[in-house]
Symmetry: C2
Subunit: 319 residues, 2 copies
Amino acid sequence: MAKYWFTKARFLNTRPTIAHAIHRTPVLTSRTFDQWIQGNLFFKCENFQKVGAFKMRGAAHAVARLSARDKKRGVATHSSGNFAQALALAARQAGIPAWIVMPEHAPQVKKDAVRDYGGQIVECGPTLSAREEKLQQVVKATGATFIHPFDHQDVILGQGTAAQELIEEVENIDILIAPVGGGGLVSGTAIAAMHLSPHTLVYAAEPQGAADAWQSKKTGRIVPQTHPQTIADGLRTSLGQLTFPIIRDHVQEVLLVSEAEIKHALRHAMERLKIVLEPSAAVAIAAVLRYQPLFQNKRTGIILSGGNISLPLIPQLIE
Amino acid sequence: MAKYWFTKARFLNTRPTIAHAIHRTPVLTSRTFDQWIQGNLFFKCENFQKVGAFKMRGAAHAVARLSARDKKRGVATHSSGNFAQALALAARQAGIPAWIVMPEHAPQVKKDAVRDYGGQIVECGPTLSAREEKLQQVVKATGATFIHPFDHQDVILGQGTAAQELIEEVENIDILIAPVGGGGLVSGTAIAAMHLSPHTLVYAAEPQGAADAWQSKKTGRIVPQTHPQTIADGLRTSLGQLTFPIIRDHVQEVLLVSEAEIKHALRHAMERLKIVLEPSAAVAIAAVLRYQPLFQNKRTGIILSGGNISLPLIPQLIE
């Protein structure tokens, strides 16, 4: 194997770098879930993370790693999801500007959230090319550093710190599972396991209606996501050049779940764990419930990616 | 002051007695809430308690304190709320039977929950007298010990252990606040403060639409709750003979909140803390938001009483 960029030394340097900027989130357990699975589940609650999602870890790391000179010019990204808020807050904490390119038809509540965290919104058209063009304009005009929402080394390393905390807090984790969209979270999770708990298997969980990671792993090349059909709005993206090889080489399997299974899992989690989750986070729980034999008699850590859900939509999103 | 029954020795004996039967629940904080209040709030998450509510503490204590002879005959209560589930589970944990008298028209989901925990449901008519008559029949027929849902010394002492954990975990709590229905939780909270942190002020929070505790404290005698109009379904009961004097003498004030304020608080808590709460728990948050000057520059512990809410009703219950 060629030498990889995600060395142990580099990974171990990550959490101290961002400790001031993030929450150490709690780990919950549930006897009811454990009885269903006939194993032990440990829920790492990134829904309690700043901005309500694990994305804060990677954003904080990318910002912290900038040179003093680059910091002055600020950061930029394109996202209408949790990474937009995360980068805005990470930049504000560091006292630097953040430009967030968002489609003009993005929900008002998402724009408001980014502005609340001090981000400057730059609107673009609805297409991928319009978005990238606008981003390049912003970078050119401001000198800001583009921080990719997931296909970025420091972002991936940052996301891995959730698994690191879980591994440090809970002994003898046999399995780690995380949802996969762009792949930043599950890549970081695989890096954490590889360096800190080599016997631990890492699984990804993905909606059947957005099964590009499953296809990519199966075919050995990046299969782009074209027409995602899932309520898990955080998981509609394609894998990246950095995340794909990690998933190919260091993730055991991509486990697919149906929309009905996601909804069931979301309901069970909110009813039993009494926590608010977004559908993307429920995808990992759905996979554990569907593929129960894999997790029987095992100690499994589930990374609950986030909790940003529109409360009035809850009845439609549970089943 | 006449010697009271809730001595320090008796209270301190409570938590060791129930430690095996309950969860030590986490305490959450929120920078956003702290900014709104201009003070420090510490949320004691009894929604994460077994059966999803603080009631488990008192039920476990009442069961644990029975004589061996009484244990054999089991326990009985009347409740269609969280205490029904709590007593059923506490009895099952102790290996004894529990009879729960519930109105025949009680929601199926509540009956199912009690049965899931091993409780035996005895149905009764919708009136108070029908309920009490049925309970007496059950007690006579089975020899079970009646455990009142709140007006019972061991129950009150058990409920106080939530505040005890909070006081032990968070230094220098200036204020404790809990919702008041029958008064078991806030009485127990006052007992904990009195013995463990005498400088701490204890407030009760109550819906305007069920303001019997407020009236009782004002008039110096128990004013029964007649036609409660509130979404906080756990707070529709009257005070009891044991809880009223404690509230009269050891609770600073009963703070009233409107239905709109309860709904706002519920939304804010679910959006910001990412936890699932029942409306009764949101009443205490609503009081802190409404009477903000009382809590400014103070360190306040809020006992979040429970999280048993019907998820499909959430849109109606937030505002």
